[in-house]
C-alpha cells in the first residue's frame, strides 16, 4: 500500500514535470481546449436562456375572442366553458366593453389625441372580449378555431391570435434556439477535435523525447501503468486548467451580460438559476471533467499508437 502511494506520488510528480517541460505546447493545448469548453458551456447556457425566455413569453400567449354586442350572457358562458375544456387553455377571462376601454386608456394615457378620439366615438366603441391564455404556441390555431364554430356565429365577432407580438417573438426565439444549438454543437465538436489533435501531438512528442527513457524503464521492470501514468497526468492537467478557465470566463459573461437584463422577466429565471451556488459548482465540475475526458482520450490514442507497451 505504501509502495503504491509512493508510486502514485511519483507518477503525479512526473506528469507535472512533463507539463512544465512542454510549456509552450501545454499553453497551446490548454488554450484550444478552453475555446472548446467555452463553446460547450455557452451552448448549455444559451439553450437554457432561450428555453426560459420562451416559457416566460408563453405565459403571454393569448387568443382574443371579440364578442358581438348582441351576444347573450348564456352564450358567452357556453363559449367560455367550451374553451376551458381544451387542455391547452389555461384560463379564460371576460373583459367587458367598459373594462376594455379602461385598459386601452391606461395603455395609451400619454397619447392624448387618441384618447380624445376615443371619447368622441363614445364609451361603447370597444367590444367585450374573452381573453384566452394558451399554454402551447403551436396550439393557438386549434384554440382559435373553437369560437369560430358555426354555433357561435351570433356570439363571436372576430378572433385574434396573439394579442401582442409575442407569437412572432416566440417563433423567432425558438428558431434562434435551434440555430444556436446546431451551430454551437458543430463548433464545439470542431474545437474539441482540434484540441484532441494538439494534445495527441503534445503527448506524441513527449513520448518521442523520452523514448530511450521509456525503453530503459521497461527493461528495468517498470509497469505499463507507471510508464503511462505521467502522460495521463499531463493531459489531465490540460483538462483541469482549461475547465477552470472556461467555466470562469462563462460565469463572468453570465454575471456581466445576463446580469444587465436580469430584471426583465424573460431572463430573471435564467440569471437566478446560473447564479445559484450548486449550479456554479456544477458548471466548474462539469467543465473540468469534460476537459479531463478530452485530455485522457487524446493521450490514450497517442500512447496506443506510439508507446507500444503491448510489445514488451
Amino acid at each position: 500500500m505504501k509502495r503504491k502511494l509512493i508510486l502514485l506520488k511519483r507518477v503525479l510528480g512526473a506528469g507535472l514535470k512533463n507539463f512544465v517541460r512542454n510549456s509552450w505546447l501545454s499553453v497551446a493545448a490548454t488554450a484550444v481546449m478552453v475555446v472548446a469548453l467555452i463553446i460547450i458551456l455557452s451552448t448549455v447556457v444559451l439553450n437554457v436562456t432561450a428555453r426560459n425566455a420562451i416559457t416566460d413569453l408563453s405565459k403571454n400567449l393569448q387568443v382574443s375572442v371579440y364578442l358581438k354586442d348582441s351576444a347573450s350572457p348564456s352564450d358567452v358562458k357556453r363559449l367560455q366553458n367550451d374553451l376551458l375544456l381544451n387542455k391547452y387553455v389555461s384560463s379564460v377571462s371576460y373583459v367587458s366593453s367598459a373594462e376594455a376601454q379602461q385598459q386601452f386608456s391606461q395603455s395609451y394615457q400619454n397619447d392624448q389625441q387618441l384618447l380624445e378620439s376615443l371619447a368622441l366615438v363614445g364609451s361603447g366603441s370597444l367590444p367585450a372580449s374573452l381573453e384566452v391564455s394558451v399554454s402551447n404556441l403551436s396550439k393557438m390555431q386549434e384554440v382559435g378555431a373553437i369560437p369560430l364554430e358555426p354555433t357561435y356565429n351570433s356570439t363571436v365577432d372576430s378572433v385574434t391570435l396573439g394579442k401582442t407580438d409575442v407569437k412572432k417573438t416566440i417563433t423567432r426565439a425558438a428558431s434562434a434556439q435551434h440555430y444556436i444549438t446546431t451551430v454551437s454543437l458543430g463548433l464545439a465538436i470542431v474545437f474539441a477535435v482540434v484540441s484532441m489533435l494538439i494534445i495527441f501531438n503534445t503527448i506524441r512528442m513527449a513520448i518521442f523525447t523520452r523514448a530511450e527513457e521509456i525503453r530503459i524503464m521497461k527493461l528495468l521492470g517498470a509497469t505499463p501503468s507507471y510508464i503511462r501514468g505521467p502522460f495521463l497526468v499531463e493531459s489531465s492537467i490540460y483538462g483541469v486548467i482549461a475547465g477552470l478557465i472556461a467555466a470562469s470566463l462563462v460565469m463572468a459573461a453570465i454575471y456581466s451580460l445576463l446580469g444587465k437584463v436580469s430584471t426583465q422577466s424573460e431572463f430573471s429565471a435564467t440569471y437566478s438559476l446560473f447564479t445559484q451556488h450548486r449550479i456554479v459548482v456544477a458548471m466548474y465540475v462539469g467543465a473540468v471533467l469534460v476537459g479531463i475526458l478530452v485530455g485522457i482520450i487524446s493521450s490514450m490514442f497517442a500512447m496506443e499508437k506510439h508507446l507500444k507497451l503491448k510489445n514488451w
Binding site: 527513457e213 527493461l219 521492470g221 517498470a222 503491448k310 514488451w312
Partner: protein
C-alpha cells in the same frame, strides 16, 4: 536457476538466430558466452529478459516458466534480472545518484531507503564520491560501472552483462570484470557475453561458445576458441 530446452528463435527477415538451444545454468554460476557477431548471443539474452519470445522450446528462470508468463508479470520478472548493456543505456540528464535511484523509484522504494541503499552499491562498483557527476563527466569504464550499479542495486539473483567491455580499453575492461566477479562472489548468477579473448582466458570460468545459432561447446574453466 536457468533452463533452456530446445529453444529456437527465428526472425522473418534475418532467418534463424537460435536453433534448438538447450542450456542449464546453476545458481551463483559465472558463465561466459562467446561467439562471433551474429552468432545468437544477444538473442539468447533477449529471450532471458523476455524482450523476445521463442518460436519453440521451453525457458524457465527462477522457477518461472516463460510459456505461462502473462504480459502483466513481465515487469516483475525483469526486476529479478539485472541487465548491463554495451552502450550503458544511462539517462544523460540524470546524475550518478539519480541514474541508480531511477531503478529503485520505479519499484516504489521510498526516498529514505534509496538514500540508504545507493552508497553501498557505489562502494561495490567503486564510484563513491561521483554521486553528483553526470554520465558525460565519467570515463567509459566508470559509465559501465554505473550501469552495473543500476543493474545490481535491487539485488537481483541474475545479472546479465551484454558485452560490457566492448567499448572499453583493457584497464577499464578489467575494472568492470573485477566488479562482476565481486558481485558473483556475493551470490549473484552472472552471465557475461564478450569478444575479449584475454578476459575469457584469464577468468577460467564456464565458457559457452555459440556459432550460427547453436552451442558448439560448453566447458567449465574453458578458454576462447
Amino acid at each position: 536457476m536457468i533452463l533452456l530446452d530446445r529453444v529456437t528463435k527465428s526472425y522473418n527477415n534475418r532467418g534463424t538466430a537460435l536453433k534448438s538451444v538447450s542450456l542449464h545454468i546453476e545458481p551463483k554460476e559465472f558463465v561466459i558466452i562467446v561467439g562471433p557477431s551474429g552468432a545468437g548471443k544477444s538473442t539468447l539474452l533477449k529471450l532471458l529478459t523476455r524482450e523476445e519470445k521463442p518460436n519453440s522450446g521451453k525457458i524457465i528462470v527462477s522457477g518461472i516458466d516463460y510459456e505461462t508468463l502473462k504480459d502483466r508479470s513481465i515487469p516483475m520478472l525483469r526486476r529479478r534480472i539485472g541487465v548491463v548493456f554495451q552502450d550503458y543505456k544511462l539517462l544523460p540528464h540524470k546524475n550518478v545518484f539519480e541514474n541508480i535511484a531511477f531503478a529503485l523509484e520505479i519499484v516504489g522504494m521510498g526516498n529514505r531507503e534509496i538514500r540508504h541503499t545507493i552508497p553501498r552499491v557505489l562502494t561495490i562498483v567503486g564510484l563513491t564520491g561521483k554521486e553528483k557527476n553526470f554520465p558525460s563527466e565519467l570515463s567509459g569504464g566508470e559509465r559501465q560501472r554505473l550501469a552495473i550499479a543500476r543493474a545490481v542495486v535491487r539485488q537481483p539473483k541474475i545479472l546479465i552483462a551484454d558485452e560490457p567491455t566492448g567499448n572499453l580499453d583493457p584497464k577499464h575492461a578489467w575494472d568492470v570484470i573485477r566488479v562482476l566477479e565481486k558481485i558473483n562472489k556475493y551470490g549473484t548468477t552472472v552471465i557475461l557475453t564478450t569478444h575479449n579473448q584475454e578476459i575469457v582466458n584469464k577468468l577460467k570460468r564456464r565458457v559457452i561458445t555459440i556459432k550460427d545459432g547453436q552451442i558448439i561447446s560448453d566447458r567449465a574453466g574453458g578458454a576462447y576458441k
